[in-house]
Symmetry: C2
Subunit: 210 residues, 2 copies
DNA sequence: CAGAAAACGCAACCGAGTAACAAAAGATTC
DNA sequence: GAATCTTTTGTTACTCGGTTGCGTTTTCTG
């Protein structure tokens, strides 16, 4: 049960990191589909089977970063101040991440992050693989909402809606940034959309005439 | 602009159908991953390149049926009775499809349909490919909602929520059927969940204490 | 230091998907 | 109805993602 194991574990961590970093560098440089795993393996100085011992699929070389943020929504709900509604906590958190230009909100104009986003949205196989990560996120959030008192069906429905909405917001923000850097207007629009989205989630579609 | 073209077109239709049918039969019999496209091509008596001229990917051999239902939600919204809210039309339509045991609702215990559903949910690559079809569905619905008077952002957010909810409902119904055939209780539960889901969509998460 | 266990490289392999080119079959024109 | 043009097809061969088997190296354990 020791966390700090020896040399072997450190080497594995390093190999993993090297692999992912060189892969992403190559992907951003030439495009995901125009880089073969053999090239990545060669550039990272490991064999092809070894690469696949670290990452189950080519897509995971690029996506495993996303996994770091997995379960974030669930965590926000679980760690909210007592007396706060889950949705209120999520709303506040999203606005805060927006102000922090967190990449998960799509509102981050650091060139490398932006390029990564471009790749993500323009590569079919990455989109496809992303589904797996999203599903995990939904399940975690549904669990947290159930703990918060919602019955099971409601929790699953709500979790799905919330996660889906987050992705729409992130994508819209990315579209905004594709046309230029972050300005006051962009930031304001992002916040406004988030407000609208959370109003929709909280009060439903009916008040909108839908 | 003539719809009824000659022999060539008919042959193409037939080849396409044969291909898809023999493929699905093999998939249901032995599992999607344990059938190679070469086998499908051989069974349908065409060459492998020809197979791929008809279906861009192996997954589409199984999924192109789903494509027939594509844009259904958008259609329901567009064809609704004047004076009806989009959400009300969708709710009524979903209940109707439930009563009709439409496969899209997940509530269909015809063995072949059930087996197809099993395959769909247990095969990663099919799930991944499905994303593409779902995205198209969302865009279509968003368009219809925008026509119905919603502003663009709201339309996209609402469309995403609605489509996502449909999938949760369908999956839950499939889970119910995996444990047995359709009974009165199952049907009632399916309707109840649909009610709950549309209440959530219409009135939001706040009234649920979320 | 010896031996177990883990990680690695190599080579060969499978299956999905594509390219090139030639052969066949349907459509078209006279 | 033959000649021709166009579309579709089969064959072969290839690329690339991913896996397997096996022998070798490296690290951990005592």
């Amino acid at each position: 049960m020791n966390e700090e194991t020896g040399l072997r574990e450190r080497k594995k961590q390093r190999t993993r990191q090297t692999l992912s970093e060189t892969a992403i560098a190559l992907f951003l440089e030439r495009g995901f589909d125009r880089v073969s795993v053999a090239e990545v393996a060669a550039a990272a100085e490991v064999s092809k089977p070894t690469l696949f011992r670290y990452f189950p699929a080519k897509e995971d070389l690029a996506l495993h970063r996303i996994a770091d943020h997995q379960g974030e929504a669930a965590r926000v709900v679980r760690d909210r101040e007592p007396g706060t509604a889950p949705l209120a906590a999520l709303r506040a958190h999203f606005h805060a991440r927006l102000d922090a230009r967190d990449p998960v909100t799509g509102l981050c104009d650091v060139p490398a992050v932006l390029a990564f986003r471009d790749m993500l949205y323009s590569t079919q196989s990455l989109q496809a693989r992303l589904v797996h990560y999203v599903a995990e996120d939904e399940r975690a959030l549904a669990g947290a909402l159930a703990e918060a008192g919602a019955d099971e069906v409601t929790a699953r429905l709500a979790a799905t809606q919330i996660i889906a909405v987050h992705h729409v917001l992130a994508r819209d923000n990315w579209v905004r940034l594709s046309a230029g850097s972050i300005t006051g207007a962009v930031l304001a629009a992002a916040h406004a959309d988030a407000e609208r989205a959370y109003d929709l989630l909280g009060a439903g579609l009916a008040p909108q005439g839908l």
